[in-house]
Symmetry: C2
Subunit: 527 residues, 2 copies
């Protein structure tokens, strides 16, 4: 049941006077729930509880954490239709998407459960003492990863489940042993509260300390500011706009004790279409890209917002088919009127830029809050001269740029802002003639794709979701897959520490049976 | 031969008009060389060369990089007496220390050579495609670590070799595939130039691109500022004061594209002496600590500047023996008159604090530039109330604090600033009664030591040299050991990329024979 209150640890509280509502974009009206913003006092209580819980939670075994994470997934599934209906009402997204995202969310929670149950992720390494070494004896050194402390997680507008309350950031932080305080996304505060209730039910049933999780409502920026500036918060996870992510990054860097911020922000995900590929399969690719550009009403961070080709007949044919195919796509609802109006505004600005031509600007009438897709083109020289053309238009929009030659294309890629992904559409070994372009692209992105679309982010070990700034604030870490846990931990070394007082992961007999690095070799053997 | 000029890539340049000299603290006079500060133009040329070199250098194989790193070690050794004499002249440190540090420097270079020759450090992971998966086929994903770009390295005053020109930061960055621009430390610019000449000789002999390394002279902060703000610099390594490190961190965070700064800064390295241990072996520990406090004239970042005990007879006896032993230590020369005067000033401030008592304040005459060691005490309550007593006094100085009980000690530890190390001196299982203290300490440090001294930082995999702020700006990374390479790399994923176009580390047949994670399992097998 949605109460509109905040979860301060296990307790529902709502002593504040500021309230807000969420919005159903399909019905074009507010939902029935009223949410009470967390007060500064409630926020401080949540963080203090998280800090106290940290003392106990960081000692929790991998098996206990796994039980907790699996219980969260079970409780989310147990919310059943109430969750799916709330999700759809607050996002305008269809039921299939809601169920798919719920599946992804629970999959992620169980994936982290498996990871911490196995336990090898702590990257234990042991260098045995050598008392006879000259000129000085060598001490015994053992190192493992430990959690850094309470983490603030900011829900994402475009993934009410998989990148919000119990999404990848929360799942990875809890798996690491860090309590989490969520700043719920105001567009789906009801979905957030339901998921928070599932987390806290799971926490109680698996005997986790009170404060291991809290959920704060807020429609403005004040709660987020206070959270990031609270001295007991030790890290921040965020998915959203460049403006929002950078503001949090700046605040965190200016603290007396700076803390890491993992903000996954904007990306236009360049796609390079090579001439032979367009000649052979241009129509097929145009169809696939019309679908990728409009998938989820273009509200994916991996949306292909920029297509780069070599000017010529093949590219012209591709553009015209892409235009036709895009025109055929049935417009869909955006998450929120606010997101729609920003989309319309950014699209309008882009269409008004010098030297761009419109390929498709969907003009039929659409229901309220539905987005009209658009594709435009520009030439390479204009693109190089005008950085406005690099800006993300969050929604079903793409810009196709026609370059004079390979060199101009390479220059454009090398000067692009950092991106989550970069894609090559190439026939056979055509890409081999574009070594410089490939090389330039690899330096600007976190993931390169061959003959595919950037939308669709597989959750697996070899996935990298993150990229050079401004795709993310720290390209050395990723937000998808088990490696996400690395963001919330740091190494601690034990020198000459008595065996029975060491954490289990570092004890001689390897009681956890984890893979460790002993004197440089990977092994599960005892010492 | 020392020319006093800057290495802009392979070329010696000195078009600037600002000059400075280094100082021999043992002779209390300037050395004979005159150093020319790098101009802004020379700096820009060095960074641009580094950026151009990066394109080629990042493609260099592990074997080629290993050859380069080993050649640097060989060339440093070939500098022979000229290097040792210059080192001693510019630092006032004895020949034994110079040779020891040269050994450590060359060991580190060869350690990184072994690491990149083996190649497994790129952490290759592969998730094979599954075209039949429902509802969507699973793509092929392969991920590895790649270098981030040119790195600025700031030489450290207290390690003219091991943490300067060819020290841990430079060695790890070159191993990663990142070109390096060094801002040479002005106190040992001659040592720096000699080492730079060795690096560039090695680079030429092993056919590395021009610009893979540059060395800039500067006596002020201007060159460092320009370096950190240059858009083509992608990361910063620094060892030094909290003020200096934080200033660089702030600049890097305020850039249009923020970049990571790894600053290893201040630490007072708390040592907890437990009563039984003092009762049994108090004299022995006092002797060891008198030696650790004054080692290298107290100019180590792991110097034990804070000793914490429970008030009582055992602690009083320990303090009085420590005082006697410290008094017996022969004072030694500091690195530089500037460092000495800051030491004297900070010590004086500390002695003037309320509620402190002097145990030893060495008063006999000493030669010019020699430091007089001191030990003082305070009670737990004063320590808790007065954060001035937490300040680092860089030099042969330590504060012993007497706490009323375990709880007061725990509170003090929990409220300490982040530290590189924390040590327990304990008899048998005495430490087991101090669970809360141990736990609090582990949350404040990067390395915990049992019955030892914090000085002496072993170079090995299980070492962590770094800690919560302000010990370092990023506790998730360390400056000592092979893991140092992680600071200069980021993951890149390849999705459905043709096998023959993949980097060797990710190819099906595993031509490099490295350890990889394939579908979740560690293996060297081909696919």
């Amino acid at each position: 049941m949605i109460t509109g209150k905040n979860y301060i640890g296990n307790a529902l509280k709502g002593s504040g006077s500021k309230t807000f509502k969420t919005f159903n974009p399909q019905l074009n009206k507010e939902t029935s729930w009223q949410f009470i913003e967390a007060t500064e006092e409630e926020l401080k209580e949540a963080v203090t509880l998280a800090w106290d819980a940290f003392k106990e939670f960081q000692k929790t075994t991998g098996t206990q954490k796994a039980t907790f994470l699996r219980a969260i997934a079970d409780e989310i599934e147990a919310l059943d239709n109430e969750l799916i209906e709330t999700y759809c009402a607050e996002s305008g997204l269809p039921e299939g998407r809601a169920k798919g995202e719920r599946g992804r969310t629970c999959f992620q929670l169980r994936m982290f459960a498996d990871l911490v149950e196995d336990g090898s992720w702590v990257d234990a390494s042991i260098d045995i003492a050598n008392k006879d070494r000259q000129p000085n004896p060598k001490p015994d050194l053992r190192k493992m990863l430990i959690p850094i402390g309470p983490i603030a997680v900011f829900g994402a507008s475009n993934f009410p489940l998989a990148y919000s309350t119990a999404g990848g950031d929360t799942a990875s932080a809890l798996a690491a042993g860090c309590p989490v305080v969520v700043k719920s996304h105001p567009m789906h505060a009801g979905t957030g509260e339901l998921v928070a209730s599932a987390i806290l039910k799971a926490a109680k049933n698996t005997k986790m300390p009170n404060g291991v999780f809290s959920n704060l409502n807020s429609s403005g920026i004040e709660v987020g500011k206070l959270l990031v500036n609270h001295p007991l918060i030790k890290g921040v996870g965020f998915t959203g706009s460049i403006g929002g992510g950078r503001a949090l990054f700046n605040m965190a860097a200016e603290r007396e004790e700076p803390i890491p911020v993992f903000a996954e922000m904007g990306s236009i995900n360049p796609v390079i279409v090579l001439p032979k590929a367009l000649k052979q399969k241009g129509k097929e690719w145009a169809k696939k890209y019309a679908s990728s550009i409009t998938l989820g009403t273009g509200q994916f961070c991996t949306n292909p917002g920029l297509i780069l080709g070599i000017a010529g007949e093949e590219l012209e044919d591709f553009i015209s088919t892409l235009g036709e195919e895009i025109e055929k796509v049935e417009p869909m609802c955006m998450l929120n009127p606010g997101i729609l109006s920003r989309y319309e505004e950014n699209k309008k600005k882009m269409l008004a830029e010098n030297d761009v031509s419109i390929v498709t600007d969907y003009s039929s009438n659409v229901p309220q809050n539905y987005a009209k897709q658009a594709v435009i083109t520009a030439d390479g020289e204009s693109f190089l001269k005008n950085p406005q053309l690099h800006q993300e238009v969050f929604g079903p929009f793409s810009l196709v740029v026609k370059f004079q030659n390979k060199e101009q294309l390479t220059e454009a890629i090398a000067n692009l802002e950092g991106q989550l992904t970069g894609t090559f559409i190439s026939e056979d070994n055509e890409v081999e003639d574009y070594g410089d372009v490939v090389h330039a692209l690899q330096n600007r992105v976190g993931r390169v794709i061959f003959n595919g679309v950037p939308t669709g982010v597989e959750v697996c070990t070899a996935m990298q979701h993150g990229g050079p700034y401004p795709a993310s604030t720290d390209s050395r870490f990723g937000a998808v897959g088990v490696q996400g846990i690395q963001r919330w931990v740091r190494p601690l070394s034990f020198q000459d520490w008595p065996n029975h007082l060491l954490p289990d992961a570092l004890k001689n007999d390897n009681p956890l049976q984890i893979l460790r690095t002993v004197n440089g070799d990977k092994t599960k053997d005892a010492i």
